[in-house]
Point group: C2
Chain length 614, copies 2
Amino acid sequence: MSFKGGFFGKILRIDLTGKTSKVDVLDGDIYRNYVGGALLGTKLLYDELAPHTNPLGEENKLIYVLGPLTGTDTPCASRLCVATKSPLTGTVTTSFSGGFFPAELKKAGYDAVVISGKASEPVYILIKDDQVTINSAEKYWGLNTLDTQLYMKEDLRDKNIRISCIGPAGENLSAIAGIFNEARAAGRKGVGAVMGSKNLKAVAVKGTRQVPIADNEAFRKAVGLMLKYFKESELAYPVFSKVGSSCALEATSALGLLPSNNWQSAEDVDWDALLGPNKMSEFNKTKNACYKCPISCSQVRLVKNGKYSGVSTEGPEYESLFSLGSLLGIKSAAFTIAADRLCDELGLDSISAGATTAFAMELYERGIFTGTDGLELKFGQEEEALRFLRMLAHREGFAAIFADGTKKAAEKIGGNAHQYTLEVKGLELPAYDIRGYKAHGLNFATSYTGADHNKGYSIQEVFGIPVPYAVERLETKGKGKLTKFNQDFAALYDIVTLCEFPAVIAIPSVLQQVIADIMSAVTGIAYTEKDMWLLGERLNNLCKLFNLREGFARKDDSLPERIKNDPLKYGLSKGEVISQADLDLMLDEYYECRGWDKNGVPGAEKLKELGLMS
Amino acid sequence: MSFKGGFFGKILRIDLTGKTSKVDVLDGDIYRNYVGGALLGTKLLYDELAPHTNPLGEENKLIYVLGPLTGTDTPCASRLCVATKSPLTGTVTTSFSGGFFPAELKKAGYDAVVISGKASEPVYILIKDDQVTINSAEKYWGLNTLDTQLYMKEDLRDKNIRISCIGPAGENLSAIAGIFNEARAAGRKGVGAVMGSKNLKAVAVKGTRQVPIADNEAFRKAVGLMLKYFKESELAYPVFSKVGSSCALEATSALGLLPSNNWQSAEDVDWDALLGPNKMSEFNKTKNACYKCPISCSQVRLVKNGKYSGVSTEGPEYESLFSLGSLLGIKSAAFTIAADRLCDELGLDSISAGATTAFAMELYERGIFTGTDGLELKFGQEEEALRFLRMLAHREGFAAIFADGTKKAAEKIGGNAHQYTLEVKGLELPAYDIRGYKAHGLNFATSYTGADHNKGYSIQEVFGIPVPYAVERLETKGKGKLTKFNQDFAALYDIVTLCEFPAVIAIPSVLQQVIADIMSAVTGIAYTEKDMWLLGERLNNLCKLFNLREGFARKDDSLPERIKNDPLKYGLSKGEVISQADLDLMLDEYYECRGWDKNGVPGAEKLKELGLMS
């Protein structure tokens, strides 16, 4: 077996200022050690961005990165990593989406597309294998994400072209704007604003190449094994295929750990009955799968009567049931469908958009911010919430104050507004009340991109999935070790690039081995299980180096005030917080497990071990 | 030149009850004399439907008919005629849409698709040239028209497939439901309900054949002449290309003949300033053209701020600016965009849906119908209007009473509700206050399918476009002759099938000649200008025969009570009505010009002349 450098390792570089493009080929060692996805993306950013680059300045880069498995028959591998410096967090960031776009881009022959500079007027990039053109997007500017794809596909007279684009939110540089392809989104951390800041409306792609496999027999064997794990899994087909991510709501709701009313948990509500998988399944219409995905988790849901009759969406995913449901104190499943669709159309990250709405609602109810031009922005108000979401995306009227998420809004509003933000490093917290999931809390505090549930998901705490030792979710001790494990494990999926659903179909070491086997078979490079852990750890250390250079320190590995000070009021985790002392204890342990000092700075030994220092 | 029967004249017959299909080939004489579009469609219905067929029974037929020019390079010829017996009017009916679907269907090799019977469960028809399959549409049932097309195209793994479908309105058998392809609609007269009654969600088509041209040189010459007329026209490129049909609003508004508040003209409003082409152009985003159309009249409009920010639509066309604007007393251009988009999604005819909303509003304000479950259905109320439209399409709650249009609603409500309906034969009046356009009024009264502006548009009265004699719009005398002329002229466009925009680019006789030349060149059959007039007249007489058989009589060639009794209050036509005496005078003259008796029954001589009697 040998490295198929002929296909792999090609980086398409597009400069929007000069309207030029060229192809670089990665050095073989770089390819081997940085592979793709989040690791390759952040490596390029670390090497090519000056410290303190303005995320919305033309000197920032927007990188689409794929993995070695993208576009192959590996299940669940059609994932796109968008890497950039985030305008929401100021950290290096990676945001992911599935769909058909990633496989299509890979088939055009690239492992990454590095977009630099800024176009003088709205443009889109069209990639047809080797042919790369930069074209006017004047006529699409302002259109929502679905209409943009519809009209562009029509104009390109080839509807098999796949399109990744921004909506009004990205154009208006909202730091909570995502990048959308079909109904899939690299939603979080403001990557849509970076795209908007470059006057880039869309990347359209058609790829006609086949991704070569170095050892077909070994590939078939390893993929066959993976599919066997899928089949044996109690989660993959029985749960994910049927209800998608909404299954998580059963788990968090049962423990009283689904946040509501901007994390106030104002009342003891059976959210599972209102928004859980059974309730949501009443709206199921059809399903959609990403390229080569046997699970097909995406539920197309349709409202058949009432004020949202005729509205459908792909989703809402678990996170949106929280951010557009319980977090707003809105008990209507139909509303979550309408709001989810609206966020997709506007090009908003539904988590941060919902969280920002909830934050504004609490400020309004407390009389801290009432300048809403008459809009009664209270918990439970559906029309007002929808109106506010539209305003956010268009940076309109008073909502402009909130258009960059909760942290920046609190800074603008001043006073004690910051007490009601729920964010880490600027990224709004996802749907897990970490007061009752301590490792998840530590993960939110330490993830390189802020409070990101996918960067080290604590499946042991949430679903009781075992690691080789017992885990008690309310315990703080041992959570440093667990969090390092979860983060390095999750990182692999972001690197190769795989969806996270397969991450629960077998025990981690078995999964790492099968992924190593698939990677070896595809690339012709011999990877071991140990390499897999090293890749994950390398990513988390590299990103720490990037963020240190930006000025982030231990104090930024923090948790929101409400998490630290307001005990949970109801349910099986009643009375819980993560105090600063709890966090400090966990941080000390975590840093130590990582081989970092008390300030969270990686030591020379660790960096050498990971090849990040010579 | 000779008739290319090898390609032309093929009728695809699909029986949904038995799930079978077969192809018939038309007899050469039938093809020559009935050609296509409305004439061929109504001929098939006349021959194949028993009198008093239930429009929503499985014995009704839904016919897609194309013309000899469809799919050729003739400009503006990608038109689909849907012919059926209407559930709204009980008459034979034809409804038209443009787009890409018509050309695609023609390229599959058919002049018509006759759909009979009823599927036992939701299905769609897939036509790929000779391959015809009937497939489950369970997963699309309930989805709106745009989502249906999106998901079906994705599922068919071939996005170049063109789809014509119904939305919730058609599924719920609303008699004001249309059939949609992309953002184009065969909107009027409840053709969508007929489709729904057959459990038919969609017809998807891919055609790979080239439409043969019998005499290419003659074809190029005739088409070249037509394009020259386009170029010389003061309307085609300077007006239609720029503002589409919204130009008509300038004309009607200036004369005070744009109906408002359910034709009450409650106040003297400058609708041109509010909803006219200049105002609407502020929302212009991009344009869309039908297949091979040089005009590209369709304006994609986008709302950039306010409560509908981010909403776009193709349109609204002139008619929808009326039905979703002035008719509802709503003075917001942005609202008309949002409501137009909603009607497209729901699969509602925007004219009848708006007119029905306006009717309900007047009943509500007058206290005649107030059982709206708290919905304040008043003129000018935007949210309520949008809610009502959704309810109409889903036949939901109290709105079920209105789901089949104004005439049936008035019958159900009883009392004096009928005084406030504005319809002829059940079809709601379009956007021309005929109290000030007498020939247009006579056309509404006599058109075979009810108050249809496209069946004999009085361009002389509305735009001052000359016929060989002077026309004064407020005069009743001479309008019988003019209306016959306009109807027979317009009929040709419905037969061949051409968009009506080219009908104003040159004088009628010149246009009839160039169309005859194109038809001859395409088909190899020698057509003359006189044949063109005969085709149109044949259609109007054949449809009269159909409707007589259904029991329609002179009394049904009527006008609404408000038109007869309530004088216009403002503007240059103040004080005008069309009294029953006016109408009778015009009808007498019209019938006489047509060679019909005082009861509107065609005489033997006329029928023989037209080949409708032997």
